[in-house]
Symmetry: C2
């Protein structure tokens, strides 16, 4: 596509490039008549200032990057999409450029986070999907750049943590199951390398302990947020511990695998065995009569993360307070009282 430069516009208008630049950038020292004529010509010629030249001239747009760890072909929970959409809109609302970046364990070895940010000219970054011990997690601490991290507790005054209170959320879910009369509750957790898994595990144990019940380690299994793994784990648990009367799952997708296992074992979900999921995915209310689950708002996560980073870019305080989001226990059929 043919690009027209400021020189072309200047030639066409019979003025210098200085005047064109000033006319289009609302400088005071250009006559109304000239300004009008130049803008008209620029418009007609489809002149769009080159962003690189502009940057050389000292005018740069601010940019926030959303760094996703391992962009998968599909996003069953809708979490990544919601975060992405939220971050995008936060940038749009703030008049900031948005760019999407991805990493994987391999690329984290070859390019440092700092160099990645430098190469993309980032003014701020939002990180999602990091696992404990990912190299980038530690590098984010050394990064001299406004930064928000989703779903990992960083405990760093310079970094904004964005997440719900996962301990509390898991506690509520398990407490609810206890209130339903359940006494043998298994935990199908996400990957042990995910910070949220640790926290949900803590909430699970905390609720049991408060009720004076023992935490039986053999009733907790990591299914890596994977439906099939969750299914197989549940099959095995149900075989080995027929006394289980409830499952708390760290994602709705895993809950589906668990429900299937329960039904295949000839037991009734929501009656013989209760199931609580996590996330409240869009189709949750249509499965197994309605999945009882802990809702979290991924769009808001992304949006708040974007806004927090934006505020830091604007020079507002290093966000000593992190962004806490609210969760909500949504009670449907797979686990319900009385």
């Amino acid at each position: 596509m043919e690009r027209v430069s400021i020189r072309d516009v200047a030639r066409e208008a019979g003025v210098s490039i200085t005047t064109v630049s000033k006319a289009l950038n609302d400088y005071p020292d250009v006559s109304p008549e000239t300004r009008r004529r130049v803008s008209e010509i620029a418009q007609r010629m489809n002149y769009v200032p080159d962003v690189a030249g502009r940057s050389m001239g000292g005018i740069t747009e601010k940019v926030i990057g959303l760094l996703l760890n391992d962009l998968t072909p599909t996003d069953p929970s809708g979490a990544v999409f919601g975060i992405l959409s939220g971050a995008y809109h936060a940038c749009a609302d703030s008049g900031i450029d948005f760019v999407l970046l991805t990493t994987n364990p391999g690329s984290q070895e070859e390019t440092s986070l700092k160099r990645l940010c430098l190469s993309k000219r980032l003014d701020g970054i939002i990180c999602n999907g990091f696992r404990l011990h990912d190299p980038y997690l530690e590098q984010a601490r050394q990064l001299d750049l406004p930064c928000a991290v989703i779903d990992v507790e960083m405990n760093d005054p310079r970094i904004v943590d964005v997440s719900i209170d996962n301990v509390q959320a898991a506690d509520e879910a398990v407490t609810f199951l206890l209130g339903c009369g359940c006494r043998a509750i298994a935990l199908i957790n996400g990957s042990a390398r995910a910070d949220v898994s640790l926290r949900r595990g803590r909430g699970y144990a905390q609720a049991l302990t408060r009720s004076g019940l023992p935490v039986r380690p053999e009733w907790t299994v990591d299914a890596d947020f994977d439906m099939d793994s969750a299914y197989h784990a549940a099959v095995e648990l149900l075989r080995q511990y027929p006394e289980l009367d409830a499952f708390f799952c760290a994602s709705d997708v895993m809950a589906l695998g668990v429900c299937q296992a329960i039904e295949e074992a000839g037991r009734k979900v929501g009656a013989d065995v209760m199931v609580v999921g996590f996330d409240d995915i869009p189709t949750a209310r249509y499965m197994y009569g309605g999945l009882t689950t802990v809702r979290q708002d991924f769009y808001k996560m992304g949006y708040n993360a974007g806004m927090a980073v934006y505020r830091q870019i604007q020079g507002q305080k290093p966000a000593d307070a992190s962004v806490g989001l609210l969760h909500e226990l949504v009670i449907r059929s797979t686990a319900h009282g009385g």
Copy 2:
């Protein structure tokens, strides 16, 4: 974050900036010793060439933009996410930059597609979510830029169409319902402003006509791909035409609303009234005993679109042939034979 320029590196290494540039860009006329020393210093100083300066110097990365019409907070079908992920990976595999863009009817009025592409320095573009009569649709034809459009038949030799054969897919679905013995089949279609809706409507009519059945316009309703609209439409249809024994829905999400309406009407999904959806969303097999549906691969859509645009950028023929993708009728419980 402090940026290090090539000048800083040159000073530190005691050579000219020319030599630094050549050393890092593998020019032959720099001694191995100098090259080694310069790269070592550049690495240590965290020097990353400024992309704007680089662009001024005549080196520009190719960029493909994915233009989404109206990025919503949630993506129940996973279509947008799949396409995005596919396009992203196509770019990554081709060593091309990827940027995400969005439009809405309002912004289409104020900024032309050409200016949008110019301002983002695009070398190619993928369009998704366009409605018939969107201004950008016509502008895409005038655009002098490699371009792929998803799910709209453009009939332009310079533009790559990417989609499944929606007429054929709908025909197969309805033909299957007819094979199941259904004789009164309603169509819950997407928005009439979406090209795929027209095509699925054609396939629906085509299948009925081939079997000698009349196409009753009152049995077709546009529910705009919305679950609630589909629900209400189905409620009304079932009340007014109790003889209906099947629904063909243009999306799984709408199929869910329809199923709910059927059950609330006291009829049994998959027995009294059969339902076929569209898309095969990740949780389809878990709903109503398993949704019968037409599967399409959104990731592949995005990937193929990206690759097609990339090939055009590389100067390969204007892609007279469009990219056709395969669909697959997935038979589960909500509609099944014998």
